[in-house]
């Protein structure tokens, strides 16, 4: 059951030693593994909003970022909107694809597989009769999501398929999307 062989020259830009070290440290100190991720969102106009991401909590304390990340969300013109940002559901697709893609690089590094290129296309199907309240049997969210990867790497097709499968197994966003999550929305 060998993988492509641990080639020390493999470099996907992932510091596997640091990740494995963190895994070991957090096994010994499970409290430090509890993270809280945060975003802030400000309404601008219409369905246009502006979100920012700065700090998060983890490793037992508040953590700050090198810079502030901002995201504009809006809807396309066919929704009678200004199209000044991606649609929120598109952010979900971005989140899934980027989580899986990062995971592929990390797993490949750990398995000694050199990646040359990784690209994904993500599609989420949606029937607007749900959010528009036309048909109560239609859900609001995606009726399915399809991700297709094109990967060029020093590995057999089976090893590449195993990278993609393992990345799904360990992906936070894949878990968020495939499993229910309790959501509490309060008004302060």
């Amino acid at each position: 059951m060998s993988h492509a062989g641990k080639n020390t020259k493999v470099d996907n830009g992932v510091n596997v030693e640091a990740l494995l070290g963190a895994r070991e440290a957090l096994t010994a100190a499970p409290e430090a593994a509890k993270f809280t991720w945060r975003a802030k969102c400000e309404w601008l106009n219409g369905v246009h909003s502006h979100s920012t991401i700065e700090g998060f909590y983890g490793l037992g304390q508040e953590q700050s970022r090198k810079k502030k990340f901002t995201f504009d969300a809006d809807h396309p013109e066919v929704f009678a909107a200004e199209d000044s940002g991606a649609t929120p559901v598109e952010y979900v697709l971005v989140a899934l694809a980027s989580c899986l893609t990062g995971g592929i690089a990390a797993v490949a590094q750990n398995r000694g597989i050199q990646l040359r290129s990784v690209s994904a296309t993500v599609e989420g199907g949606m029937d607007l009769q749900g959010i528009l309240g036309i048909d109560r049997d239609v859900r609001n969210g995606f009726d399915g999501i399809k991700v297709t990867y094109n990967i060029d790497a020093d590995a057999t097709p089976e090893e590449i398929r195993a990278l993609v499968a393992q990345s799904q197994k360990r992906s936070a966003v894949y878990d968020v999307i495939t499993n229910p999550t309790n959501v509490t929305v309060n008004v302060a």
Binding site: M1, P30, E158, R161, A165, Y174, N179, P180
Partner: protein, 391 residues
């Protein structure tokens, strides 16, 4: 012969869990030839067959007789604690003092059930595999079997054949053909040394100890019982049961990847077997290699199931087992409630563990694994009693 004075405490009769905690049709998942205990192999005329439950009990009883094991039956240990340079046990038949103790109470004392099990609507009967005996025990109507390892797949098959339509919720599972290239999968894993792999030879022994059981069944037909076999018979397949909310079962959308992971793992196992066969010149003696059809998953597996519609009458939690250490008054458990040990040597002087998954070898939890582990650990135990300080 080490001639160390010892006693075997048994809460019931020899083979107690096989007598009281197994369903009626269960057969050993390992072929007859593989039930090898030290000096006690198989000498019958069906080496490739699988022992029934009464045959398995008889096998264990005969071994206890042959080795004159000093078994004290109907003696349940109620507490074990360290005192002075040894241990003190309380049992339902009085107390014991000993310098060393071997915990061989098994990995499967309590059936695991998910935290949301109490959200099952009233009117649906829930059973663990320890309570299930035969299909006729269940109401007519649909059955949701949660878990698709060896237990879940066998129960799904038997219950579905009884005319009770089964929905099988599959999480992480390990697919395996019963027979590959004309030989039992256990024959290959035995011959190729997979079962002899040691705890210090695998990358992550903690993970290896948690690997689910192979999807195997021991039938006279030597049939493969994977998800494709079950869905071909009409069993409905869903992803892992994520929760039950408002009388509705919610399944994870990850079924396709659960099956992909399992198919890929199986492919690697068969590659290992094929390479070993070639290197050892067996290619002419066995059938040619082949690969199994990928697990079939429908385009949109169900994500929900209304448990209040009457369609499902019974839920079976085939969601694994855990050991019961409620009687163990010794600080040797990790935060998950498992005994800390290094290949069966517990960090409490003179305490040993036996019969757990991948204790010292991949085969440690098999009958066939007991001999080698016992040899290693009894050597350590004897050295400890002799005053040496082994690792």
């Amino acid at each position: 012969m080490r001639s160390i004075d010892h006693v075997v405490l048994e809460r019931g009769e020899v083979g107690n869990s096989w007598r009281t905690e197994r369903w009626d049709s269960l057969r050993l998942l390992t072929p007859n030839w593989q039930s090898r205990l030290p000096g006690f192999g198989y000498d019958g005329n069906d080496p490739d067959g699988f022992r029934t439950t009464p045959e398995t009990i008889g096998f264990l009883e005969r071994y206890a007789e042959v080795i004159s094991a000093p078994v004290q039956t109907h003696t349940r240990v109620t507490s074990l604690r360290r005192v002075d340079d040894g241990y003190e046990l309380a049992t339902t038949e009085g107390g014991w003092r000993c310098r060393t103790v071997v915990l061989a109470s098994g990995a499967c004392n309590i059936a695991r059930t998910p935290a949301f099990a109490d959200a099952v609507p009233p009117g649906i009967r829930t059973l663990t595999p320890m309570q299930y005996r035969y299909p006729g025990q269940l109401d007519q109507g649909g059955v949701l079997v949660v878990g698709a390892s060896a237990t879940g797949t066998q129960l799904a098959d038997e219950i579905h054949r009884s005319g009770r339509p089964v929905t099988l919720s599959a999480g992480e599972h390990i697919r395996a053909p019963r027979v590959y290239r004309g030989k039992d999968i256990q024959w290959w894993m035995d011959k190729a040394g997979v079962l002899d792999e040691r705890d210090d030879e695998v990358d992550d022994v903690t993970r290896a100890r948690r690997v689910p059981s192979l999807q195997l069944t021991g039938s006279p037909e030597r049939a493969t019982l994977d998800l494709n076999a079950l869905t071909a018979r009409g069993v409905k397949l869903t992803g892992p049961l994520a929760t039950i909310r408002g009388g509705k079962a919610q399944f994870s959308g990850s079924l396709r990847n659960q099956c992909a992971l399992s198919d890929l793992k199986l492919g690697r196992l068969l590659d290992t077997i094929d390479q070993w066969a070639t290197v050892n010149g067996l290619d002419c003696e066995v059938e040619p290699p082949h690969r199994l059809e990928p697990t079939r998953v429908e385009d949109s597996p169900p994500l929900g199931l209304d448990l209040s519609s009457g369609e499902i009458r019974t839920i079976i939690w085939a969601t694994g087992f855990r050991p019961d250490y409620s009687w163990l008054e010794s600080p040797v458990l990790d935060r998950k409630g498992y005994i800390r040990h290094d290949g069966g040597i517990v960090p409490s002087p003179g305490m040993y563990l036996m019969g757990m998954p991948f204790l010292r070898r991949r085969k440690s939890a098999l009958i066939d694994g007991a001999g080698d582990d016992a040899r290693d650990l009894s050597a350590h135990l004897a050295a400890y009693l002799a005053g040496a300080h082994p690792r």
